[in-house]
Symmetry: C3
Subunit: 265 residues, 3 copies
Amino acid sequence: MISLLTDFGPGSEHVGALHAVLAVGCPGAERIDLAHDLPPGDVRGGALTLARLAPLLPGAVHLAVVDPGVGTPRRAAAVELADGGALVGPDNGLLGPAAATLGATAAVALTPPSQGAATFHGRDLFAPAAARIACGARVADLGEAFDPAELVTPDLPAAEVGDGHMAALAVGIDRFGNVQLLAGRADLAEAGFTAGDRIWAAVTNRRHPATVGRVFADVAPKGMLVHIDSHGMVALAVNGGSAATRIGVATGALVTLGRWFPEGR
Amino acid sequence: MISLLTDFGPGSEHVGALHAVLAVGCPGAERIDLAHDLPPGDVRGGALTLARLAPLLPGAVHLAVVDPGVGTPRRAAAVELADGGALVGPDNGLLGPAAATLGATAAVALTPPSQGAATFHGRDLFAPAAARIACGARVADLGEAFDPAELVTPDLPAAEVGDGHMAALAVGIDRFGNVQLLAGRADLAEAGFTAGDRIWAAVTNRRHPATVGRVFADVAPKGMLVHIDSHGMVALAVNGGSAATRIGVATGALVTLGRWFPEGR
Amino acid sequence: MISLLTDFGPGSEHVGALHAVLAVGCPGAERIDLAHDLPPGDVRGGALTLARLAPLLPGAVHLAVVDPGVGTPRRAAAVELADGGALVGPDNGLLGPAAATLGATAAVALTPPSQGAATFHGRDLFAPAAARIACGARVADLGEAFDPAELVTPDLPAAEVGDGHMAALAVGIDRFGNVQLLAGRADLAEAGFTAGDRIWAAVTNRRHPATVGRVFADVAPKGMLVHIDSHGMVALAVNGGSAATRIGVATGALVTLGRWFPEGR
């Protein structure tokens, strides 16, 4: 089983090329598209997505390509996982969280194709390596070993939390306009926000009212909800609308949440 | 065979999660993506799409998730079909038309995962149920039975038709800007519109000229065509352009067609 | 093995319908999505994409549908390839380059479904033919033979090249804003552009500076690179940005490159 996660865009010929190389390189392997709509170059978002989806497919080879530094000397890696699977992709932070979640037992640097020709590493380096592993090759035989502890980790700053206050990065925005923050249940608790609390969310100095809750039914239509999403992260959602549009946020921006005082604004 | 139809967005990690759960839950089952680009929350459009695509795959398990009410008490359902297949998804209107088209022989309410934790019903409830059915479980064993006649049906208002006049809902807009109306061949006939007639189409009070025809060749480049589309529905199309943009329509809006009199405007 | 290439849009029900027809028409055949995000009606771009991806899948049946002329008398074709595979789609230029690249050994005109009913040729004509070929039917048995040399070829104008100057069509723009030109390595050499040269690129009379190079590392962040891409074509790219947005280009427009003189503007 081979999974694919890229920022190539759904339905793009770049994704098609990966599938073609995998289909020919390891006939019979099942291929599963995990995500292809990541924001271009969003290594951090890709890393977090891979870390939460890869555990759903124990023993699979995960081909992940979000690679704004293609052509630079960043390392190309294959990582052997404790669950019997593997990660293959650029060692730019994309693989670190999944390796930490699943446990890495070995890692090698893949040798890029000849630097004399322009190359598409997804098609020419990573997909062939993933196909070989899926068809039985050992990770250790594909390149020069390095300590998996050296895998690059993306910058994942902890949320800043105080009583009645939290600031955290927006790390994922989906099609529905749900905004996922780099913060978890403990952060929400530490801020003292509990179900039913009226709070505000802001990216600029404009504060937008929200309610701490669990499901859309906890807020009125078009109301904004701050909740723990299905991945265990703090997230903003608008009932029947887009939280991303409401507060004007893009991936990578800092979102501030604060307690709303009746007299405040 | 398991089909998937959602409003999660093509290439999104939400679709990836469904595939992963299905691949592990019923190894060897073939998975077919029917549609993932439905407008967010468009239960009616999803229901009509499912009803016309599901018959192409006799005996398949159809996993359908357009679920703006997730987290509310709306019923989660699995439906046994006369063709040996099944429908799995929220009972919010999404499944009704397909059940009617294919014939429902039994239905059960699925028990949602613990309400104590935030859940993603597609991943945590519907996909596991679909995988179990695809791998041989009986629908009747998955929950508490209810009469399939009680399945919710979406609001599908009949077209209003008079001589030289028709008003119908826009229920589908594709990438080419083709606008599908909730009206069929009989409605067009009842309005007295026949091939070659010059008519107008309007959403607001601005009327746009169109010609009743069968193929783009029946109108000049950039001309608008009113025809019966490949699903048997009345549809608007612009030769080399977008009918949706031309008349300024969004899914769910009412479109009026009328006979164009030479002296009229 | 059956590949699919269309302009239907990723995740659209039109793509879903093709998959459903293929899955039922030739059970067990592997299906590979090559591309579905081609600009609507972009026959030339589709033809070039098909010609470069099809060779990755020797022996496969390639179902290609970019068909702005559906409903007109354009020929519907199935083409037998020298590699044992086949092409199926409208004979409007879409198949010509792939047939030339892979070698065509026979061709037939497919008989369209009854003209009395509106039809979706992808679903009703091309996909069933592709399924039959994938399951063993001979191309010659599917329609009336014609000389494959008669396959329509899209308009592929050669780049105009002079010393220090080149003008070529933009034939592909991907999600990253990379702009692929209908020109190759020889054209770049003929223009006298070599690595490190400072040149300009323009669509209108506004000239944008660029550097001839090989990888993004050859230009500063937000700098524009002119290089040979992984398909061997001249392409424009912006390091950490979009070349398409930078120069304001759409598919089909003419892009001019010129040598930048210090005193020039």
